[in-house]
């Protein structure tokens, strides 16, 4: 089946003129996208702190229902959007990938909060995955820790904008040979196997974090344990050691 190219003569000005008279002119694409973007059903799936802000977004004050996205579905089969709201740990990552695989096309992913984007403040933990985009493709990254409910709405609007730009003819899920299921990582002896999926994510040529900070978790490595058996130091030094004065402003 071939679609004829969109050669409509109706421009935006004429459209609004017609709309005033009660006639709506639209293209199939626009109708299709309008329908899809106005009824994004997110998955009811909270991981950590951001999930609470997600619930707050669904509640009275922010009311995600105004965007047609209030129907939080507990089952991946019924949802269009996965909001990865919270830290994805290595123990949880296989389940997240599995849920993504189980979602029906078209499917979108918003990573909400710093943790799900790149590990966030917990990036150096031994059990924290440095970003879920190592295993699945992400549509919108939404930084913040946690993002305000308004920011989540903004992210949703960003996704709607993305949906508006899609066309029936070229969308991935109507193409042949679509592969949108990604291998689910296994638990290994030291972490996940594999550490990332090179089909989706590759380490950057210059890995900023490693280059710049090394591994910050080792900064505090100490080779001398405190000896609590010794009696406490005399009361004079019971107070914290006198600090170096902070640098004087404006030198």
């Amino acid at each position: 089946m071939a679609f004829s190219p969109n050669a409509s003569q109706v421009d935006d000005g004429l459209k609004s003129e017609l709309a005033k008279k009660g006639i709506v002119v639209t293209t199939l694409n626009q109708l299709y996208n309008w329908g899809r973007r106005s009824s994004i059903w997110p998955m009811q799936f909270g991981l950590a702190c951001c999930a609470i802000e997600m619930i707050a977004t669904a509640c009275a004050r922010y009311d995600i229902a105004r965007f047609g996205a209030e129907l939080f579905r507990p089952s991946p089969r019924q949802s269009d959007l996965m909001i990865v709201a919270g830290t994805v740990t290595k123990k949880m990552a296989p389940q997240v990938v599995r849920l993504y695989n189980q979602m029906a096309e078209p499917k979108y992913v918003i990573t909400m909060g710093a943790c799900s984007i790149a590990g966030g403040p917990f990036i150096d933990g031994y059990n924290v995955l440095r970003g879920i985009d190592r295993y699945i493709p992400i549509d919108v990254h939404l930084p913040g820790c946690p993002p305000r409910p308004e920011a989540l709405l903004y992210g949703l609007m960003e996704l709607q904008r993305k949906i508006d730009g899609q066309e029936i003819e070229t969308t991935e899920w109507y193409q042949k040979g679509l592969k949108r299921e990604y291998p689910i990582p296994d638990f290994g002896p030291h972490g996940l196997i594999p550490k990332f999926n090179p089909e989706v994510w590759n380490p950057r040529e210059t890995e900023n974090r490693k280059e710049r900070y090394g591994e910050p978790i080792l900064i505090g490595r100490k080779d001398k344990a405190p000896n609590l058996d010794l009696p406490p130091a005399p009361p004079r030094s019971a107070a914290p050691a006198p600090a170096a004065p902070p640098p004087e402003p404006a030198s």
């Binding site: 123990k91 150096d124 031994y126 059990n127 440095r130 291998p183 296994d186 638990f187 290994g188 002896p189 030291h190 972490g191 196997i193 594999p194 550490k195 990332f196 999926n197 090179p198 089909e199 590759n202 380490p203 890995e207 490693k210 090394g214 591994e215 978790i217 080792l218 900064i219 490595r221 100490k222 080779d223 001398k224 344990a225 405190p226 609590l228 058996d229 009696p231 406490p232």
Partner: protein, 194 residues
């Protein structure tokens, strides 16, 4: 509430054979095997320490330690801090779960993080990490993996799944394999672990 020193003499008098040592505000039990006896005494004597608030593992490089904080709910007194030391290679401490149910998960946590084996624990498994995880992540010498470099196991897994691994990544993994090394997270310039 008794002072720690009084408590020490009281326990030593009540349970012959135990030796306690004052460490700051806490009592160090010299022989870990006496732990159950001492805890029973704390719970059942007139001290009435019926509530085990916290069990903590800790790594002091030359030995591992398990710290117990006891309180009394009935008398609203406490805390009594008890600590037990064990060696790093074969860390074994009797479990208090039979006496205090509240120790169950906390001992599992200390086992998970430090590898302290609590003898007599009904269900000593890892609690936070998965089964099959190697190493004790909270010990000070734990080496984290480098999450940006693939190892040969990862490459083999990916190829088994039909994922094409880019050449440079694969070459790096093979190089590591040849040298018999793991991809570890290290600060640049830090000496390599033995």
């Amino acid at each position: 509430m008794l002072s720690t020193a009084d408590l020490k003499t009281k326990i030593e008098a009540a349970i012959p054979g135990t030796t306690l040592k004052l460490v700051r505000e806490s009592l160090l039990l010299e022989n870990p095997n006496d732990l159950l006896k001492v805890a029973r005494f704390l719970k059942e004597s007139d001290l009435g320490l019926d509530y085990l608030s916290s069990v903590t593992g800790a790594d002091y490089l030359t030995y591992l330690e398990s710290v117990y904080h006891f309180y009394s709910m009935a008398q609203k007194s406490g805390p009594v801090v008890l600590r037990v030391r064990t060696d790093r290679q074969n860390p074994q401490i009797p479990s208090l779960t039979a006496l205090y149910r509240g120790a169950e998960f906390q001992e599992r946590e200390a086992y998970d993080m430090y590898g302290i084996v609590y003898e007599g624990h009904p269900d000593l498994r890892r609690v936070f990490m998965w089964e099959g995880f190697e190493g004790w992540p909270m010990r000070k010498d734990y080496q984290q993996e480098d999450s940006e470099t693939l190892e040969m196991a990862d490459v083999a897994w990916l190829e088994n799944q039909g994922v094409k691994v880019p050449e440079p990544i694969k070459a790096k993994a093979e190089e590591l394999e040849k040298q018999g090394k793991r991809a570890l997270a290290q600060k640049p310039g830090q000496p390599e672990p033995q």
